[in-house]
Subunit: 109 residues, 2 copies
DNA sequence: ATTTTGTGGGCAAAATATGTCCAAATTTTT
DNA sequence: AAAAATTTGGACATATTTTGCCCACAAAAT
């Protein structure tokens, strides 16, 4: 996994490594070529379902791709705000807290 | 700011500290009381516009509230996934990268 | 008993997400 | 240079989600 590629960049790279035209991969993904083009260029964001299909089509670990997917979404939402580092920290605390709560509930159950 | 309150919990706490009924704050926020009830209880997520209005209505730092808002949204999306810590790390790297890119562009400009 | 306060459910409108279609632009091949 | 292949741009439609209201009812307070 190249450093900080977007999903689109990754897909284009893998596609080119396979020497296949966009239309062929689009067909494999059951997607219109025009849409794939937009996704590769970053003009559109892929759906989660499509990201899963991409993992299969390219035989990549789904988990890795979902990490890219989610992180890209967050970064796109936040990069303009001057408080984004704080947001990420608080988000992490919240997740820990929710997780903790669930563990406690499981124990009581 | 209490540790890891949700926005809804914060609003309810502040409202009760003011000793006002839900309907009164809802009116101040230009919002239906039923909707505010749902937000306070965590059954609905507030819009960003509403979060800004809340900051004004309660005279809180808007930035603080937006940090809560964003972090809560992220946590809600991610807490179920077993890779959420990685996502947050990668998101931070992406944001740094985007920021770096913008700085470089500014320099060249 | 009455009034006040908070909640549940259903709904509609607005906003956003998602993908297709088709033509045009660009690139590659002949 | 021309033809074929590939990629892209734009408009559009549909699906989904977001957002808040309305209204009746439940719960709490008076």
């Amino acid at each position: 996994m190249q450093t900080l590629e977007t999903i689109g960049q990754l897909v284009r790279r893998l596609r080119k490594e396979q020497g296949l035209p966009l239309r062929k991969i689009a067909a494999k993904l059951d997607l219109d070529p025009s849409t794939l083009s937009k996704i590769e260029r970053g003009d559109r964001f892929p759906s989660k379902e499509l990201v899963n299909r991409m993992a299969q089509a390219f035989d990549i670990d789904e988990r890795e791709l979902l990490i890219l997917y989610h992180s890209e979404k967050i970064a796109n939402d936040l990069y303009r705000e001057d408080y984004c580092v704080e947001v990420l920290e608080v988000a992490e605390q919240r997740i820990d807290y929710i997780r903790q709560k669930n563990i406690v509930q499981k124990k009581l159950f």
